[in-house]
């Protein structure tokens, strides 16, 4: 709840119009993802994206938006006197207790797919894994800068690494390290991974899933529904390479499955039509499933500038959360 409030306060007043203005003014200045990936340091890449994102945000009419928001409550007997904000007491003559950041800020768990299928990429050596890592790192940087707790979980055929959400000095570095880990040799077992994840997430928060979702849709829908039912706010970033989306192959060749190693002779001229139809059906099924599960779905082709992907995400999240707050009256 607090996360939702925080998120809503954070983005309050940010209208679609502003975002659209920000989007219009900043699209040409966004860094091409393939060029961005030439920055070898993930943290640096994330900062570059974030800079771009901030610029876009600062061009919005809502200037001076502070991210350093702290929440007070009246002192009641039994509260730890160490938490009394003495400056405020001096000014107001009243005693208020400052809430801890981890009590008032967002908890976000970035769940990144590290299966072998994420190693595919067609544009300038950039893979989906690189895109996912950069997107997650940017989001992590962004959230931690404003006091949110961020954690990272990587998975393939099961959970690989899990770093709980924190916001402490040095935590960001750890997150970057995890995100920088190479993709594992393994297939995608979304259901298993989500099940394991749900057991680890004890507190409600935001779960951002970065994956190509190359798995049966039925199992995914079930696990996402379960996470939603647990009170997690799930956002699915569906990453796909443009070559996968459009199947830009011309020469007949033996295609090899990155995860299973299975090989098939494919004549693109013959197989393209069927492939695209099946892919569309899968993507539609995923979108529908997410919708049914109450999960936010973000379509992320890897040739989309990361800033734009985040803006899209933010704009949808803002609209949804504002509406939710209005319905629920905000806060808890």
């Amino acid at each position: 709840m607090f996360g939702e409030v925080t998120w809503g306060l954070l983005w309050s007043g940010v209208s679609d119009k502003m975002l659209s203005v920000a989007g219009e003014s900043s699209a040409s200045s966004f860094v091409d993802p393939a060029a961005l990936m030439r920055i070898r340091s993930l943290e640096l890449r994330a900062r570059v994206v974030m800079e771009g994102l901030w610029k876009g945000l600062h061009r919005s009419p809502y200037h001076g938006f502070s991210v350093e928001f702290s929440e007070y409550r009246s002192y009641v007997r039994g509260d730890d006197p160490r938490h009394i904000d003495w400056k405020l007491a001096g000014r107001s003559g009243r005693y208020f207790v400052k809430k801890f950041e981890d009590e008032t800020n967002l908890r976000c768990q970035l769940v990144v797919d590290h299966s072998r299928s994420m190693k595919f990429g067609s544009a300038g050596g950039m893979t989906k894994a690189d895109y996912a890592a950069t997107l997650a790192a940017t989001l992590a940087l962004f959230l931690m800068k404003q006091g949110d707790a961020v954690g990272v979980t990587t998975f393939a055929s099961g959970l690989a690494e899990h770093v709980p959400a924190r916001n402490r000095p040095g935590h960001l570095r750890r997150l970057m390290l995890e995100l920088e880990r190479p993709v594992q040799e393994g297939g995608t077992a979304l259901d298993v991974s989500m099940t394991q994840l749900s057991e680890l997430l004890t507190k409600k928060g935001l779960v951002c899933l970065f994956s190509d979702l190359l798995a049966p849709v039925e199992k995914l829908e079930r696990q996402l529904s379960w996470l939603g039912a647990m009170g997690q706010d799930v956002v699915v970033f569906h990453l796909m390479d443009r070559a996968e989306i459009e199947f830009r192959f011309e020469e007949a060749a033996v295609f090899q499955d990155a995860e299973s190693g299975v090989e098939r002779f494919v004549n693109p001229g013959v197989a393209r039509e069927g492939y695209l139809a099946r892919l569309k059906a899968h993507c539609d099924a995923v979108r529908s499933g997410c919708e049914r599960a109450g999960v936010e779905y973000q379509w992320c082709p890897t040739d989309t500038p990361l800033e734009v992907a985040l803006f899209d995400f933010v704009s949808r999240r803002d609209g949804a959360k504002v509406a939710k707050n209005r319905v629920s009256g905000g806060g808890r």
Binding site: E251, A252, A253, V254, R264, G274
Partner: protein, 693 residues
């Protein structure tokens, strides 16, 4: 040209095998997931072959044409190649005397056979034998191989002759034949000469012609390993001393011994063949040297032909000199006399005349006395003499004398008194003669010849100042003879001015009038050393002696015109019958005997020698021909030697020339380039067919 490169065409099997081999797709694409991809059915190999057969064909053709290009192909179809159809070949085989050495002739025939057999059916070939002239044994028709083989086979039965080597004339004849065949200059023309190319060959005729364009001369030298040779030749001409000698001197013959520069031996010997004399001359000659010797005398048998031979080398075809028996010309000298023994009566003019005219190698006077009654039977030319011993000619004698003089004879008339005036007038016709006695000189007095016209032919022997001193000849008596008229010439005068010797032209002959006799009663002339040369000089001037005829050689006609039928007997015993006006050409060296009228009435020996120069057997340098403009084919071809150009080599040379003209390799290269472009286009098209449909 290089058929070995065609083996490279075997590389065409490589693209065929590669094309047929079922190759797995080379491209492998790593893809994220195959969950949306269905496997595409592969096309059958058979269908793939059919689709790519054009590409395979193009690649195969490229490899084949590459091999073909390196092999440098050419077409022997002369029309397509632009080479003139056929070749004109004239082959000349030397059949001169020098080809009698060793195996030369046999090898020459073999060389001719090779050339003829190498000729194609469309070629024109002519074969000729040459020495001093050319004899064609095969005309230049485009004959069948059988005809050519028969002609060449006939050569094997022929032997070389004894003629000289007139190489120039032979080559000019060959050029004439080629010129006759030359229809627009389209044919290749070649003149092949098979010979020993001796240095003694004549080349003068080549200086008279310009070598025609397009004709190539080919030299096939036939040489012996052992080239050393000795030659014996008869030398013509006299030395100055001999010329100065008396007319009745012995005819001196000389021989020349020559040695080629390749001769290893230096010694030689001369000997008369068939004689018991043995070696008559021994000598030494350095290689390339020569010596002139007087012909050694024969011990006996001068009346028979003789053969002088030199020994000291391995080839004796030129080691002989033939000598005809001595055969002086017989001159009938009819002396007017009134008795038969007049020539034996001592102190008579006839006595001294007979002993003076003893005969020489050139002239053999035959004296006979004729009395006044027998002049009617005197016919023909010859010499008539009235010696001035009081014998009168009479009318018959006068008539006979006039006849003899008219036919070119010589009359010697000694004026013995005033009565001779009438006879002189009768002999000479209209000339006015005046004869009177000069009177005796008195005791001890005498006349001498003070003026002698030695420039006249009748006194030619005395042309030398040393010989025309007649002051030692005393004339006791003489008559004063005066004559005027045409054709009269005083040859000598006494110191008194009176004529001593008068020559009168009578018809074709000469009447020589002496105003003093030669017998001791009149003068010392018969007893002097001048008498004999005086008489032989008169005979020579009147044409009653033979000039040195020079050396007769094979191929020359005998210098004797048959006025009637006659025959000539050759050295091998063969007899040739000739008609009037015909001449006989000697074909081999030796001594010939020519007889007119079928008998001994008029016969003569002729010695015919081997042509000069045939003994110079060293091989002439090529430059001697090229200097005369002969377009020699490069390289000297020694028939039977290491450098022999066989038919195979010639065919290869023709192929090189044809290939250079056709340049088919260039068109092959163009075709390869076109095919490469086509192959590239087909290959790209094949790639696109595999991409987006």
């Amino acid at each position: 040209m290089f058929p070995l490169y065609l083996a490279g065409a075997a590389a065409v099997i490589v693209p065929i095998l590669l094309h047929l081999r079922r190759q797995p797709p080379k491209d492998r694409v790593a893809f994220s997931s195959l969950m949306f991809l269905e496997e595409t059915e592969r096309q059958p190999t058979r269908r793939r072959r059919l689709e790519n057969w054009l590409l395979l064909l193009a690649r195969c053709l490229i490899l084949i044409l590459l091999a073909l290009m390196f092999a440098r192909p050419f077409s022997r179809d002369r029309e397509a190649s632009g080479v003139e159809e056929g070749e004109s070949v004239v082959v000349l085989l030397d059949r001169s005397a020098s080809m009698r050495r060793g195996e030369l002739w046999k090898r020459g025939v073999e060389a001719v056979r090779e050339v003829v057999e190498a000729a194609g059916v469309s070629d024109r070939v002519a074969v000729g034998l040459f020495d001093g002239k050319v004899e064609w044994v095969m005309a230049g028709d485009e004959g069948l191989p059988e005809a050519r083989r028969a002609a060449v086979a006939g050569l094997a039965k022929v032997m070389p002759g004894w003629g000289e080597t007139d190489l120039g004339r032979a080559m000019v004849s060959g050029l004439e034949v080629l010129a006759q065949w030359n229809d627009g200059g389209r044919k290749k023309r070649r003149l092949v000469v098979v010979s020993d190319f001796q240095e003694g060959a004549k080349l003068a005729e080549l200086q008279k012609v310009a070598w025609p364009e397009g004709v190539v001369a080919e030299r096939r030298v036939i040489a012996l390993e052992e080239e050393g040779n000795l030659t014996l030749e008869l030398v013509s001409g006299r030395t100055e001393e001999e010329e100065e000698g008396v007319a009745n001197a012995e005819v001196v013959r000389r021989v020349r011994v020559s040695s080629s520069r390749e001769t290893q031996q230096t010694g030689f010997e001369l000997a008369w063949e068939g004689s018991n004399q043995g070696v008559v001359v021994q000598g030494f000659l350095p290689p390339g040297g020569r010596r002139v010797l007087k012909m050694p005398p024969r011990e006996k048998g001068d009346e028979k032909p003789g053969v002088l031979k030199v020994t000291g080398d391995g080839y004796d075809f030129d080691n002989r000199v033939y000598v005809a028996p001595e055969q002086p010309r017989e001159v009938r000298v009819r002396v007017a006399a009134d008795e038969e023994g007049a020539l034996e009566r001592a102190a008579s003019p006839g006595y001294y005349l007979k002993r003076a005219l003893l005969g020489t190698a050139a002239v053999r006077p035959v004296l006979e006395t004729v009395d006044a009654a027998n002049w009617d039977g005197v016919t023909g030319g010859g010499v008539v003499v009235s010696a001035g011993d009081g014998v009168r000619l009479g009318e018959a004698g006068i008539a006979a004398w006039r006849k003899v003089l008219g036919e070119g004879g010589l009359g010697v008339y000694v004026v013995d008194g005033v009565s001779a005036e009438a006879e002189l007038k009768a002999l000479t016709g209209e000339l006015g003669w005046r004869v009177k006695e000069a009177g005796e000189q008195g005791d001890g007095a005498y006349a001498m010849l003070g003026e002698v016209d030695s420039k006249d032919g009748l006194l030619a022997p005395f042309a030398d100042a040393r010989l025309k001193d007649f002051t030692k000849v005393r004339f006791w008596k003489h008559r004063v003879v005066e004559v005027e008229g045409e054709g009269v010439k005083v040859l000598a005068r006494f110191d008194s001015g009176d004529a001593a010797m008068i020559a009168v032209r009578q018809g074709a002959g000469t009447l020589l009038v002496l105003t003093s006799g030669w017998h001791p009663a009149d003068s010392q002339l018969a007893l002097s050393t001048k008498f004999v040369p005086l008489w032989f000089g008169w005979l020579a001037a009147a044409g009653f002696s033979y000039e040195e005829e020079g050396v007769l050689q094979v191929g020359q006609a005998l210098p004797w015109e048959f006025k009637g039928e006659g025959k000539v007997t050759g050295p091998s015993g063969q007899v040739g019958v000739l008609k009037a006006g015909e001449v006989f050409v000697a074909k081999e060296p030796g001594v010939y005997r020519a007889e007119a009228n079928g008998g001994e009435k008029e016969a003569r020996w002729f010695a015919v020698q081997l042509p000069a120069g045939e003994g110079r057997v060293s091989v002439m340098a090529e430059e001697r021909l090229t200097e005369l403009g002969v377009n020699l084919e490069s390289g000297d071809e020694v028939a039977g030697g290491a450098g022999e150009v066989t038919a195979e080599v010639r065919e290869r040379m023709d192929g090189v020339e044809t290939e250079a003209k056709q340049r088919l390799w260039l068109w092959t290269l163009v075709a390869i380039l076109v095919l490469v472009i086509v192959e590239s286009m087909l290959g790209a098209s094949r790639g696109r067919e595999g991409s987006v449909a």
